[in-house]
């Protein structure tokens, strides 16, 4: 029999592919019948052609397979069902539900706080319009630290030569603590300088005044709303004049506008802005010399590449200052600077961003530890739910719908936890701000809601994914026959998760210990000078004569030990490589010194120890050509006894009269620098008074009264030197608090997880234990049998955790030039602590199991 021609295969399979499965059979039959008819009536070719046409005509929306799949289950119904099952399960296994919930709530609270903080940090300085176009002109100093200041003269040159610069604002080297006087009443406020486009370049919101003209007039001042309220108790103060004082400078200034109080997301906080002309006049010579004593802010035209502008700056600098071979100034993003505030060779290298990253890492870690609780407990419970899974599968549940079911369960849990967490976050927010010592701006917006939903659902999915994939993969036949046994692999995984949890907790505990001890070391390490009970303050409005009179008077105040002056903040400031030379110095050597002018008695006041020679003393007449160096400088010079040698600073030459033992003026992050002191001519920028520890309060009161007598127009704003020392470790303190709180969160969560796991295993093995007991096993052997499951993973986690923390902590300590060693007992103590927690938790459960009457658990079989 001759085979009749068949319809084209390719088209047929195309048809089978697109056609709705419900219609496939009869339509295919129709096609075949039609084809046969046509074959009979019209011949083979025509029939094939018509078949093609027919197939193509069937390709229409009403007949093709729906995109979302064939089985149209009611998704809402399934969701409803899944939710119901989830809630029933929560009710049924309350312990594990509570463990999971508490763990997740704690984890989410922590990570939401961290998110709020990170979000705040990331938004820093981005509120300015076109903040992406704002830059700051900076230059390198000492190779690895960025000197942020720039030369106003050089900036002016750039402005005229680089057309891409749209706006440029010059400012002082930093904010100035200065005094505003209104009707003889003095207010100590933080001031900023700005040239005329200040308010055009930055978008600080204005209350009154026009951004175009605020700082155009010389001697104009723009004050903040709260300053206006403080001074005038009114905001209608345009045109009023004030007196501005800073050291010996006094200027009359006119208010031209008021800006709203600065948002918390502004890294720069100031009470008023003065027009730059005042600064320019006062430091005219230095500016003309090209000193880098200002800050320059630049707005580039839209679409300008900063690299190109930097290249231009490079060219201009090389062309005009060929003798200067160090890296020329360059631009960095204005809003980038807040987080990336450490630079190395012109490239951002850490800074505050490291802290942000650390926070994020800790947040993720805590959430992960909480997720692991869920994974562990639900896979452990799998044995109890296998029947449910088997029955579902037999009835026809797809693997996918089982996966959905478990994900629904975990997401329900995480959303529940999320809602509770939000309540906690709202309640605890003020405490959180206190904790990190920083005000945080929270502006709820759509983005924040998305991030919240994101965090919560990712948590749910991460927590649920493993159980979902694991449980849905069971073979229904084996389950229902009761032959399903949990394999070694599952146990490994579960124990692996416990290892991770406890390893992470261990790392946190060890970090707390190490950070705590380093901070204690930092606080207690002898700085080489006396730092406690020293008051220091800036001398606004006092000339040399007045200062000297004040200093000699104040010594008579009961409680005052010594009083003296110094040219800069007591704590590390001036650095200069000013051509400092001595006999036999390698001319290539470029060393940075710390130096300053001190008054008589200053070194005695600070109780700096003398190694050789003597300090400045009035007994020796004029000592202006003498210098006292520290030990590091002596080593640098390379002479055993440098007394009498000459040290040249610029054109002047000084005779070395004394060598001081080394002391830490800088934070302990830094090596001690070569330091020397010269004698000042009676006037100091800062005065310091050391007082006795007793009756501090009264003593300060006396000093204040005395100060008022000498300087009635200015307030007495002092600070304690040891508090300033503390300020240096603000970031480190944050790390300390963070690790403390992170570990207090992580350890309980991990322990909760272990508790759940132990109680589950104890429950599952209760029959085994009862039989052992009946056969005469001793309680101790029962404990051994039960705890065997946990000792191995715990031991493993101690090894891994210790290794990781050795790595992390030695990295952190490397940031300190003076640091503690990692002691073995840090690790031993943490491990013992962790084991103790774990033991305590598991023994409670284990004892419960072995003390139950064996009859209770074996009678029903």
């Amino acid at each position: 029999m001759k085979l009749s021609p068949k319809p084209p295969k390719l088209l047929l399979s195309f048809f089978r592919w697109f056609c709705h499965p419900d219609y496939l059979e009869d339509l295919e039959g129709d096609l075949f019948e039609r084809f046969d008819q046509n074959l009979h009536d019209k011949g083979k070719n025509k029939a094939k052609w018509l078949f093609t046409l027919n197939v193509l005509q069937l390709f229409r929306p009403s007949l093709i397979k729906p995109l979302e799949g064939i089985k149209k289950l009611n998704p809402l119904g399934m969701l409803n069902h899944n939710l119901k099952v989830s809630i029933r399960n929560f009710k049924r296994y309350q312990t594990s539900f509570l463990i999971n919930l508490i763990g997740l709530v704690v984890g989410l609270v922590a990570s939401l706080f961290i998110y709020l903080w990170v979000n705040h940090e990331m938004r820093m300085d981005t509120f300015h319009e076109d903040s992406g176009q704002l830059y700051r002109l900076v230059s390198d100093a000492a190779g690895n630290e960025t000197l942020l200041n720039s030369s106003p003269r050089f900036a002016g040159q750039l402005r005229s030569e680089i057309p891409e610069i749209q706006l440029m604002v010059n400012s002082s080297w930093g904010q100035l603590e200065s005094i505003l006087v209104l009707n003889r009443e003095a207010y100590s406020l933080k001031g900023e300088f700005g040239s005329k486009d200040f308010f055009k370049l930055f978008s600080y919101p204005l209350l009154t005044g026009n951004a175009e003209s605020l700082l155009v007039q010389p001697n104009s001042i723009v004050i903040s709303e709260s300053t206006a309220i403080k001074l005038f108790n009114s905001t209608d103060v345009i045109g009023q004049t004030l007196e501005w004082r800073w050291y010996s400078a006094v200027e009359k200034v006119t208010i031209t506008g008021i800006y709203r109080d600065l948002p918390l997301t502004s890294s720069s906080q100031f009470d008023y802005v003065l027009s730059f002309n005042i600064f320019e006049q006062r430091f005219k010579e230095r500016i003309e010399r090209g000193n880098r004593n200002g800050r320059t802010f630049i707005k580039l035209a839209k679409g300008t590449s900063v690299e190109q502008v930097n290249a231009k700056i490079f060219e201009i600098s090389r062309r005009d200052y060929p003798e200067n071979t160090s890296r020329p100034p360059f631009l960095i993003g204005y809003s980038d600077y807040y987080l990336h505030n450490l630079y190395e060779n012109g490239r951002p290298n850490g800074g505050r961003i490291a802290l942000v990253q650390l926070f994020i890492a800790i947040g993720v870690l805590i959430i992960l530890i909480a997720c692991i609780n869920f994974m562990n407990l639900s896979t452990a419970r799998a044995a109890l739910r296998t029947k449910e899974i088997g029955v579902r599968k037999v009835i026809g549940a797809h693997r996918r719908s089982l996966i959905y079911q478990y994900l629904t369960e975990s997401c329900t849990l995480s959303f529940l936890a999320g809602i509770i967490a939000i309540v906690f976050v709202a309640l605890l927010f003020p405490y959180f701000q206190q904790l990190i010592g920083q005000k945080i701006s929270v502006e709820p917006d759509l983005n924040m809601i998305f991030v919240f939903l994101g965090i919560v659902s990712i948590t749910g999915i991460v927590a649920g994914s493993y159980p979902a994939l694991y449980l849905s993969g069971f073979n229904p036949l084996l389950i229902l026959k009761g032959k399903l046994t949990t394999s070694n692999k599952d146990q490994w995984l579960r124990q692996g998760l416990v290892v991770f949890q406890f390893g992470a907790s261990l790392v946190l505990i060890i970090s707390v210990l190490v950070v705590y001890h380093q901070m204690k070391y930092v606080q207690n390490k002898s700085l080489g000078y006396k730092s406690d009970n020293i008051l220091n303050f800036e001398t606004v409005g006092m000339n040399a004569q007045k200062q000297q009179a004040f200093l000699s008077e104040v010594k008579n105040v009961p409680g005052v030990v010594k009083a003296s002056g110094i040219s800069h903040a007591l704590f590390g400031a001036q650095k200069s490589s000013a051509n400092i030379t001595w006999e036999g110095k390698d001319p290539e050597q470029d060393i940075w010194f710390e130096w300053g002018y001190v008054d008589y008695d200053m070194l005695e006041l600070l109780k700096i120890k003398l190694d050789k020679g003597r300090f400045f003393s009035r007994e020796f007449g004029n000592e202006n050509a003498k210098v006292v160096i520290n030990k590091t400088t002596q080593k640098l010079i390379g002479v055993d006894n440098p007394i009498g040698l000459k040290l040249s600073v610029g054109d002047s030459s000084y005779e070395i009269i004394g060598v001081m033992s080394d002391f830490h003026f800088q934070s302990l992050h830094e090596q001690i620098k070569p330091t020397f002191f010269l004698l000042n001519n009676g006037w100091s920028m800062k005065l310091a008074i050391s007082i006795t520890a007793q009756n501090r309060h009264q003593c300060i009161q006396y000093i204040e009264e005395m100060y008022k007598k000498f300087n009635p127009e200015n307030s007495f704003d002092y600070s304690f030197h040891d508090q300033e020392v503390q300020e240096r470790y603000k970031n480190d303190e944050k790390v300390a608090t963070l690790s403390k709180y992170a570990s207090t969160l992580a350890i309980p969560i991990s322990c909760l997880g272990l508790f759940g796991l132990v109680s589950f295993v104890a429950e599952r093995r209760s029959k085994e234990m009862s039989i052992r007991k009946v056969l005469g096993a001793s309680p101790s052997s029962l404990i051994g049998a039960l705890s065997k499951d946990f000792t191995l993973p715990l031991s493993l986690s101690t090894i891994i955790g210790s290794l990781i923390s050795i790595y992390l902590m030695s990295n952190w300590l490397a940031g300190f030039a003076y640091r503690i060693e990692l002691e073995w007992w840090f690790f031993a103590f943490s491990i013992v602590l962790l084991f103790l927690f774990a033991l305590l938790i598991s023994t409670v459960q284990i004892i419960k199991t072995i003390t139950t009457n064996p009859i209770d658990s074996i009678r029903d079989e």
């Binding site: 059979e25 129709d30 039609r34 046969d36 027919n54 009403s62 007949l63």
Partner: protein, 110 residues
């Protein structure tokens, strides 16, 4: 009144299904329509209409027995629901009434 107004082609398909009575499956309907109305109908357009009518409840369908013909595929037979039959009859009567209401003179003129 019906909410859904049947189009002309839909009505023709329904009538044809009625004519074929119990033998109304895809190709048979097409053949019948081609024979009676001298009208080309593609499988695609017919099937779309049939499924739509079924969805709206005007038609019912069930699969027949498998035979050796048609590559062993079963036929899907369409039939009327009783209720719908009545609706169709009503429509027919309404139309007839309309026809009868036309004055004879109008027809003559045309």
């Amino acid at each position: 009144m019906e909410k859904y107004h049947l189009g002309e082609f839909e009505k023709v398909v329904m009538l044809t299904v009625a004519i074929l009575h119990r033998e109304a499956y895809g190709i048979a309907i097409i053949n019948e329509m081609e024979k009676r109305l001298n009208r080309k109908v593609s499988i695609g357009s017919l099937q779309t209409v049939l499924r739509r009518l079924e969805k709206k409840g005007y038609l019912e369908s069930e699969l027949g027995e498998a035979t050796k013909e048609r590559g062993g595929k079963r036929k899907r037979f369409f039939s009327f629901t009783i209720h719908r039959k009545r609706v169709l009859e009503e429509t027919k009567e309404q139309r007839l009434n309309l026809w009868q209401a036309i004055p004879k003179i109008a027809l003559h003129k045309a």
